[in-house]
């Protein structure tokens, strides 16, 4: 065990204080105290990680000391040692947050195991705290890409409201970074040490969304085999991000409104009111005012959510940020894939002037794909343009690698009538042509192995025309 954990031994019996000091001082910094009424002063003057506390102390009983530790929110793990072996005292102590409870005369080995477990728990907590801080650092406003005037205005607005607990509604097209902003709000606020949870209301089936938000009791519906804690409860004192909030059913909107107003709710199938102190950040890629007019969104909920509206501009309206994003994603994915791809000036200019209908997400996926597929050290404008045009014809602007019928032209939509095998062959030929019949690059783009690629070429009777490579 590390020696930098501090333990305070509180017992009026000199023999026990000496015993525990001899037992623990090899591995810990140990101090002792013989009265209950001086413990809080000692704890406020220097930090201790663990206290071994006798319940029978002169000046103030151990139970009263425990109550004061709780009231003053002193962060310390408590191990109670007592000569009393009754259930009531044990229950009272555990309710006051005691880590463990030993009855005298106790086994010193058992005490050492308890201390070891506490130290492990403390080390885990320290690590979580450090990780949380690191994550938080990534989301500090100064570390978020947004030098454009529009984004700077958003940061200024957010800095004014982040510690006020008011609900924030983020409106922005898909891929503009709504979740990033939601996380920035959380990790720059005084809620940062509490959980951040998100829920995409468009991906959860409507009949399950209530359970996701509010949790459910065991047996409340078919399949509810145990109690579930919902995101509202998990994110207590923290932040709950509700993305695509326009997808909530009218019933669920009513329930959400009630929670926002009353700050309490019941789990599905439960009858206990649970208080919440969760900050809501909501987001939508649709204008909720239009949905209100169409009676698809409750007006009262809209006004409740729209306390602080934030409009995230599409990427094409913040072109100053595009070079910063390009550099950021180049660094990120070059490091991830062990590459060192650069982009020349003309190509960068092209990227800056491109429309980016899929916004930041599309840009990120593009850079990732470019790094994976480029065989050059520096990508030039032609390569960048070619890959972008390929994406425009084959893939939808959201950057998701799925062929959508909307992305196909008239001739291609007729070919939908063809068999799947024919479609696959056509698609394969198209991708091969794009990559100049380079089998490796084609296979990588299609996310299949070279062996599979060869099998498909054989199956579809495609002959590779060897031409000069783009390198």
């Amino acid at each position: 065990m590390r020696a930098n954990y501090k333990i305070l031994i509180a017992d009026d019996e000199k023999g026990i204080r000496e015993l525990l000091k001899d037992l623990l001082s090899d591995s810990f910094e140990v101090e002792t105290v013989d009265r209950g009424d001086t413990i809080l002063d000692i704890l406020s003057s220097k930090p201790f990680d663990i206290i071994i506390l006798d319940l029978q102390l002169p000046g103030m009983t151990g139970i009263d000391v425990l109550k004061q530790i709780n009231e003053n929110k002193v962060k310390i793990a408590v191990v109670v040692i007592t000569a009393t072996n009754d259930v009531d005292t044990a229950i009272t102590s555990m309710k006051l947050g005691v880590y463990d409870y030993l009855v005298k005369p106790f086994d010193t080995d058992k005490l050492l195991v308890i201390i070891k477990n506490i130290v492990e728990k403390l080390e885990l907590e320290n690590e979580v705290s450090k990780l949380r801080q690191q994550v938080g650092e990534n989301f500090r406003f100064k570390n978020i890409i947004g030098k454009s005037p529009e984004m700077q205005k958003i940061f200024i607005t957010l800095e004014k409201v982040i510690d006020t607990d008011s609900t924030i509604l983020i409106i922005g097209d898909s891929g503009t970074g709504k979740e990033i902003i939601a996380k920035a709000i959380h990790y720059n606020s005084n809620r940062k040490q509490y959980p951040f949870r998100s829920l995409d209301c468009s991906t959860i089936p409507r009949d399950l969304i209530g359970s996701e938000l509010f949790g459910h009791e065991k047996g409340s519906f078919t399949g509810a085999i145990s109690r579930k804690i919902g995101k509202f409860e998990v994110a207590t004192k923290g932040t709950l991000f509700l993305d695509e909030i326009s997808n909530l059913s009218i019933d669920m909107q009513a329930k959400l409104l009630r929670v926002l107003q009353e700050k309490e709710f019941e789990r599905i199938g439960g009858n206990q009111l649970i208080k919440v102190n969760t900050r809501i950040v909501a987001a939508s890629n649709k204008d909720l005012r239009d949905l209100v007019k169409e009676n698809q969104f409750r007006e009262d909920l809209y006004y409740r959510l729209n306390v602080v509206p934030v409009y995230l501009p599409p990427l094409k309206e913040r072109r100053e940020d595009i070079p910063l994003f390009v550099d950021h994603f180049l660094n990120k994915y070059n490091s991830e894939y062990g590459r060192d791809l650069k982009i020349d000036l003309k190509a960068r200019l092209f990227l800056t002037n491109y429309s980016w209908p899929g916004n930041v997400r599309q840009l990120e996926n593009f850079i990732k794909r470019l790094i994976l597929l480029s065989t050059a050290n520096t990508a030039d404008q032609d390569e960048v343009k070619s890959l972008l045009e390929f994406e425009e014809t084959i893939m939808p602007p959201s950057g998701i690698d799925v062929i959508s019928p909307k992305a196909l032209n008239k001739e291609e939509s007729i070919s939908l009538i063809k068999s799947l095998e024919d479609m696959e062959k056509e698609y394969l030929e198209k991708v091969l042509r794009h990559f100049n019949y380079n089998i490796s690059n084609t296979a990588r783009a299609l996310k299949i192995s070279r062996k599979t690629m060869h099998n498909k070429l054989k199956r579809f009777n495609i002959t590779i025309q060897k031409i000069a490579s783009m390198e």
């Binding site: 023999g15 015993l19 002169p58 000046g59 000569a83 005298k104 106790f106 010193t108």
Partner: protein
Amino acid sequence: MISDNEKKAVILEQTIRSLSHELKNPLTTIKGYSQLLNSKTDDKEFLRKCTNNILEQVEKINLVLNDLYRVFSFHPENITSVSSDLIIRRLHEIVETSVWKDKVELKHGDIRIDVNIDLEIVIQLLMTLMRGFQWEFFRSTSLELLLDVVDNRLALDLIFRGVDFNNINNENFFIPYLSKQFFVEGTELYDIFMISNACGIKFSMFRDVPPVFRMEIP
């Protein structure tokens, strides 16, 4: 209404609990150092310390049991007829010359009564009480000694002002170690109760706010 038997059972339980707590502490030290003996067998200094601590605690247990039993073999030897004037004079001397004279006050009316006591024992019991109280931790406490005649007996009331003996009442005050929060040894009230009993003096607690103990001397 609690029956006498139930009251006795409660007293017995509190006594055992109180005594158990007092004995478990040295037992914990003995057990702990016995286990530590195996841990540093090449450190002679530490082994010596372990052994000494174990023996010290064994002696402590022995003392606890002896102290508790000692009072049963007490017999007063010098019971004589003593006037209340003499008692008052002696009490004044004790109070004026004690280190707690700023904390202790003697009050009495015009009392004319003779009683049968061993006066020195009464003085010793009073000293036990004053010496044993934890004055340094209960700084605002004062002790009033009130001498009066009640039911044709001389009553010495010991009134503690400014402290709340929250776990002690007229039914359990004599249980050894129960009052350890307020008295150094925790056996002061037990000793006074048992020795008073042996001397024919009724020692009781008859009010708990402020705590008042009364010696009724026949």
